[in-house]
Structures are given as C-alpha cells and as structure tokens.
C-alpha cells in the first residue's frame, strides 16, 4: 500500500543565528519536530520570539536549517519544487503598492506558471472568495490592514496549493476582518487544504485548529490534537436549554446523592466579547 506523505514534516530542526563577533550564536529553534497530515489545520502557538516564524521560514526554504530536515509533501524544503504546493502569507505583509489587487494576483499567478484564461478565472474566483472583487482595480497601497491580509491570503492560494502557511494571519486586523479571515481558513479546511498557521492569539487558534503545537524558547513543549490537549478528563459538561429551576435542583440533588460525583459549577454560559461585538455590529448594519 502506498503511504501518503505528510503535508509537513519537520525533524529535529535546529536553527542558530550568528550574532555579533565573538559571541555565541543565538539558537532560535532547538530540536523542533512536527508532522502535519493532509487536510489538518495545525496551529503553532507561542510567545513572541519563541521560534514560530523561524520554523515557518525554514519550512519555506527562506532560512537554511543548522541541522535537521524540513519537507513539504515529502519534498525537501530547500528545493524549489517543494514550493509548487505551498502558499505563504507572511506576518504584516506589504505587497507592491503600485499594483492593484487584480494586478497583484496576476503577478503571483504568472510566477507560478499560470496564464491566459486560466489565470483570469483564478484571479476572479479568488477576489470573490476574499470579498475584494469591488476593490480589484484599486491600488494595494490604499488597502486597509484587513484587505491587505485578505489579498495576501488570495495570493497564497493563487496556484491552488495543497498547503497554506499563515504567519499571524489576523495580527493587527479589527474583529470584523479577523472573523473574515477565520471564515476563510474554515473554508480552506472544508476544501481539504492543509493549513499551518502560527499565532499568539490563542482563542482564534482554538476556534480553527484541530492540532496544535506549543513552542517556547525554541523548543516544542507540547503537541497533539486540540480536543485531547484541552479536555479536562475528570469533568463532564452538560448544556441545557430552557431548564427550569426545579429541573436544575433535581439534577443537582441526583449528582450529590451519587458517591464521588460533585457539581463543580452551574450557571449561564457566556458568549465571548468578540461574538457580542460582531453581533452588535451586524445588527447595526441591518
């Protein structure tokens, strides 16, 4: 049986950066290993300066590993052909300000060997996907931060890659823009595209990722399925709708009558501030 290669495979990645003369090199990544299978949405989380971006750059061949190995769909990251199947959105990207949104996508499409009608169709499709069709002829220099991130996501998808790498995709974007980007990531997941993203906005990672890795001071300190990692094994949650105070009392009494079981907390679940904000904004728009 033919084994499917992982979308991303990083083995014992070490990356040292030279510092000033005679000083010890700075170890940005220290023995990181991870494996992302096709179709997964993997979130690499960690504080600033923990080695997230360096790991991504090593995976894209933008930096060469001091030791270790990175591969995309089984192909060595240092080889150009490994980039056939990958799209990348860097942190705080600035695209060529003199190009319009449409021209930007055409430029990246041509770099990937697309042309003619196929490229035109792809540009139209992506502009519609990221909701920028109305801004296609506007210069990118006049785009807002959220629009820049969305055109960045569109350029990452131009050659229909099987893997998309996103470095802090919602950094500096307002809640509405941030929601749009998260919805796009969800759409990619539905389409079976592997997503590897890094962020320090934990709530957002939790919302979109099915696998996570926690990196700290260059080392991977925890990795696995999100559900497994965040579940509290000895607790169970039941959420009821329209439960009367009598029903709550009965349930509480039943639990307390059971040896070893206890009600830890009961009350009304709360929405997040972000959901409240988005709901209010959309109601106001109507």
């Amino acid at each position: 049986m033919v084994e499917i290669p992982p979308a991303v495979e990083i083995k014992n990645l070490v990356k040292d950066f030279k510092t000033s003369f005679r000083r010890e090199p700075l170890r940005a990544v220290n023995g990181v290993s991870l494996r992302i299978m096709p179709g997964e949405v993997y979130g690499l989380i960690g504080p600033n300066g923990s080695g997230k971006s360096t790991t991504m750059k090593a995976l894209l061949g933008l930096v060469a590993p001091t030791s270790g190995h990175c591969a995309i769909f089984g192909r060595d990251s240092l080889k150009v052909d490994s980039r056939n199947d990958v799209g990348f959105l860097p942190e705080n990207p600035y695209f060529y300000k003199h190009l319009s949104g449409g021209e930007t996508l055409r430029f990246y499409g041509k770099l990937c060997g697309l042309g003619g009608r196929m490229l035109n169709d792809r540009v139209n499709e992506l502009l519609a996907l990221v909701d920028l069709s109305s801004a296609r002829d506007r210069r990118v220099g006049g785009y807002s931060k959220g629009m820049l991130q969305r055109i960045g996501l569109a350029q990452a998808l131009i050659q229909e890659p099987r893997l998309v790498i996103l470095d802090e995709p919602t950094a500096g974007v307002d809640p509405v823009g941030s929601r749009q980007i998260r919805d796009l990531i969800m759409t990619l997941r539905e389409r079976g595209i592997t997503v590897f993203l890094c962020s320090h906005l934990l709530e957002q990672v939790q919302e979109v990722c099915d696998h996570i890795g926690i990196i700290f001071q260059g080392k991977m300190i925890r990795e696995g399925r999100l559900e497994d990692l965040i579940a509290i094994e000895d607790q169970t949650e039941i959420v009821l709708r329209d439960a009367s105070p009598e029903l709550i009392s009965k349930i509480t009494a039943l639990v307390e009558a059971t040896p070893g079981a206890a009600v830890v907390r009961s009350g009304k679940p709360r929405t997040t501030l972000e959901r409240l904000f988005l709901r209010e904004i959309s109601e106001e728009q109507r």
Partner: protein
C-alpha cells in the same frame, strides 16, 4: 515509504524572469522616473545655444553647435543611465526585503536566480527605453540643426565662390558631425556601460545592508573604473612590480573583476565626429557581456545562500 517525486516547476525560467522584469519596469515607471526626460529635453534644446562665434569660414560655421548637442546629449544620457542603473538596482532588492514582498515571491516556485535576473532585466529594460527616448530626441534636434548648418554653410561658401565639388565635400563633412550610425553606436556604448553598472550594483546589493552603501560603493567603483587601466599600467611598469609573474596575474585578476571604463572613451571620439569602427563596438559588447554575466553569476552565488 514516501511517494514524493521531483515535480517539475510550472512555467519556464524565461517566463518567470520576464514576469519579474516587466514588474520591476512597471514599478520604476510608476515611481515616475521618466520625469527626467523633461530635463533631458531642456538640455538637448539648450545645447543648441552653445555656438561660439566663428570667423574662419564656412567649414567652421555650426560645427561647434553640432558637437555641443552631441556632447551635452551623450553626457546627459551617461549621467541618467548610470544614476538609474545604480540607484534603481540598489533600491529594488532592499525594498522587497524590507516590505517582505520577497518572502511571498521566494515562497512561490521561483528559483533565486530567476528573481535576480528578472530584477536586473527590468532595470536594463528601463534604461534601454529611456535611452531610446533620449536618442530620438537627440537625433531630432541634431537633424534639424544639421540641415540648418548645411544651408548656412552652403550660402556662405557660394558667396565666397567655392566650387560645387568643395561645397559637396563640406556637406559630407558636416553630415558626419550629425546623426549617423556612429552616434547610434555611441548611444549603444552608453547603454552597455550602464548595464555593467546595473549588474555591479546588483552584486553589491546582495551583501550590502543598505541602499546608501550600495549606491556609494557602486559610484566609487564607477570612478575607479575610469583610471584603473592607467593605475595597472603604472603599477606594472614600476620598480616594485617589475616583470614579476604574480604582479601580472594580480593585475589581470584586477581587470577581470573591476571593469575598465576607459574602453568607453570611443564615445568622446564620436562626439568629435570620428567614425566608430564596428570592431570597436563589438569589443564593447563582448566586454559588457562578460562583466554583466560575471557580476550576475556572482550575485546569484551570494544570494542563493542568503537568509531572510
């Protein structure tokens, strides 16, 4: 077992290089670099008025003004093309790194050589188009002025009772000072010199930390290039170097790495009305081709290991 096999990159090297080149060209055009053409137009027209008073005879009438138009125009072409070659090349690479657009390009299946070659070709395309426009303007001004000078000379010669043969001979001589094939050869030489400077600036920008450093070093090498041949000769004939083999090898290596811009002095000869031999132009093409390829390949060696 992994199923990974080497998958060919879509699109040819040429198509990627051309995409990057046309983009670099558009980028520079939208930075409004063509505004300098207005300054050139002023120079080309103003050079018409540098006509010193003549008293000798018809053969001297207007000769200075034709020389002045060529001299000022080719001088302005040299200045603009060299400045464009250095500054535009020095600007493009660091700007892409600073804006992180380089990440998005190199994260696509784009070999680093294609990126560098595309940027260089874009700058060369801009210089070529600029020189072509300046050339059209210069030839236009020169044609009009040459016909005016010929008319003036003929009227004066007839008045002084010259023979028709002498008048025809004067006409040929004056036309040699006008817009001719040698002048186009000189414009090509200006382009070749700018090409060397653009590829040199590209090399420096691959290891430089700032646009300012690249610009200053490039201009320094440009000036050194104008007297390096003399310096080499002086050194080889000095007592320290003598006839030593190492001195000769050193001097040869020096000239292989640093361009000798004295070879381009043929442009001055064209201004003086001399004919540029095709062989001389061919030599310049070969020399410029050598330096452009050498500097671009050296840039690629450095850039291929560069980390971002």
């Amino acid at each position: 077992m992994s199923t990974a096999t080497s998958k060919p990159i879509k699109g040819s090297h040429w198509s990627r290089i051309l995409t990057i080149a046309t983009h670099a060209f558009t980028q520079l055009v939208r930075m409004k670099v063509f505004y300098f053409l207005a300054i050139f137009a002023v120079i080309a027209i103003a050079s018409n008025f540098f006509d010193l008073p003549q008293h000798e005879g018809p053969e001297a009438v207007g000769a200075n003004v034709l020389r002045s138009i060529k001299s000022w125009s080719l001088g302005a072409m040299t200045l603009f093309s060299v400045v464009l070659a250095i500054v535009a090349t020095a600007l493009l690479l660091p700007k892409d790194v600073e804006d992180r657009t380089l990440y998005t390009i190199l994260a696509k299946p784009v070999p680093r050589f294609d990126y560098l070659a595309g940027k260089l070709l874009g700058v060369l395309l801009l210089i070529f188009v600029s020189l072509a426009l300046m050339d059209i303007l210069m030839v236009g001004v020169l044609q009009i002025r040459t016909s005016m000078v010929i008319e003036q000379q003929q009227a004066m010669a007839k008045g002084m009772g010259w023979t028709q043969e002498a008048i025809n001979s004067l006409r040929v001589e004056t036309e040699a000072n006008g817009a001719n094939a040698s002048l186009q050869g000189a414009v090509l030489a200006v382009f070749l010199r700018a090409s060397i400077m653009a590829s040199l600036a590209l090399l420096i920008s691959t290891f430089s930390t700032s646009t300012l450093f690249t610009t200053i070093v490039s201009f320094l090498i440009y000036f050194i290039g104008h007297f390096q041949a003399d310096a080499r000769e002086v050194y080889l004939h000095s007592e320290q170097a003598g006839e030593g083999v190492f001195a000769r090898i050193g001097a040869l290596l020096f000239s292989l790495v640093l361009p000798d811009f004295q070879l381009f002095n043929v442009i001055d000869a064209v201004i003086e009305g001399q004919v540029m031999p095709l062989m001389e132009l061919g030599k310049l093409v070969v020399v410029a081709g050598y330096y452009a390829v050498f500097f671009t390949v050296a840039s690629w060696f450095i850039f291929s290991d560069k980390e971002f």
